[in-house]
């Protein structure tokens, strides 16, 4: 009996240690994701943004692995069972490649053959919602005033 108790106490200790470890890993991964997110705000280079997004996706997959493997306990199940869950989900690899490249191809086709679509994505518009509208109008007015001044200067020079 005492042997059984000490065994279960050991198991208890191991399980709690695992939960603690996974909690720390998940928190660290989330914090790194957020740091990358904040960092990305100031970056304009398209290639650099894409690289950061790639890293974020990898971190996201790592978080998913830790949740499924340890919190949902799948890693401790029998391999037969793990396979019945994981193998069907492998379809997602194909879904993601197929659908995203389809979307990308559709964009390229529209940019090539649909002049309206292409034009729409080059015309700048002003923000509609309140707060920002006010700022935009001010900017616009300031721009007009500058122009006006420039015209005056131009006329004066004449």
């Amino acid at each position: 009996m005492s042997n059984h108790d000490s065994h279960s106490a050991e198991h208890h200790h191991d399980a709690i240690a695992e939960i603690k470890k996974v909690t720390i890993i998940l928190s660290v991964l989330t914090i790194v994701e957020l740091i990358l997110g904040f960092w990305m705000i100031g970056i304009t280079s398209e290639g650099m943004r894409l690289a950061i997004k790639g890293v974020i996706v990898i971190l996201m997959m790592a978080k998913a692995f830790y949740i499924v493997a340890y919190f949902m306990h799948l890693k401790h199940e029998i391999k037969n069972f793990i396979m019945t869950v994981i193998v069907p989900l492998a379809l997602f690899i194909w879904f993601i490649i197929a659908f995203l490249s389809d979307g990308n191809s559709f964009r390229n086709l529209r940019n090539t053959y649909d002049p309206h679509f292409k034009e729409q994505s080059t015309i700048k518009v002003e923000e509609k919602h309140h707060g920002a509208t006010h700022e935009a109008t001010e900017k616009h007015e300031a721009g007009a005033a500058e122009k006006h001044e420039a015209t005056e200067k131009h006329e004066a020079a004449h």
Binding site: S8, H12, A15, I16, I19, T23, S27, T30, E33, L34, L36, G37, F38, M40, I41, K53, I56, V57, M60, K63, A64, I67, V68, F71, M72, K75, H76, E77, I78, K79, N80, F81, T84, V85, P88, L89, F95, I96, F99, L100, S101, D102, G103, N104, F106, R107, N111, F117, Q120, S121, T122, I123, K124, V125, E126, E127, K128, H129, H130, G131
Partner: protein, 227 residues
Amino acid sequence: MSNVTTASSEAKWWGGGKSPFNVEYGKVMMWYFLMSDAFTFGAFLISYGTVRFSTNGWPDPNKVFKSFPFAPEGVNAPLVFVSIMTFILIVSSVTMVLAVHAGKMMDKKGVVRNMIWTIIGGIAFLSCQAWEWNHLHHEGAWWGVNPFINADGTASSTNFTNFFFTITGFHGFHVFSGVVINIVMLIMTLMNKFEERGHYLMIEKAGLYWHFVDLVWVFVFTCFYLL
């Protein structure tokens, strides 16, 4: 796990007279339900990705999700509120694991305490989401209306808000059902139902569902707020 993967033991598992999955029926079915649910969420998120890939411009999430409760109008705090929501869900997932573990130890008090924390976490997450939806609605965003322009300054379509409200709404509905399930489990624990049965397997099944909700949020959060 590795000791059952050799050829000889595989034959043993499928040779009859043994349970090849060695998992309780209800847990197997919960896993299969969650797998089907993963396909539903996957379909939503992939269609969002497809539409985003087929469009030239898209709104900048850091300009859309930048406000915070009780903060002054026009505050610029991108990612702050959503990080709090993410951590609430992670913490509630941890308390759920602790409840499942307490159940395995037949520790009723531990189950009750951790289930209460999990329920509080779920309600806190739902409240955050309700605030965010309400705030966006006040800014003029809803299904079919999108007040936010694209990051490059061009006119946006309503795809952004449609996908955002549909997918976060579907996830929020899952969180809500999870909270209801957890409350039912808490009541059953308090009524000594699981003590009478001699096991806390129902807590494990509710736990699987709750972790799945957290798992989906990992994807939704990344796709809408970070990418």
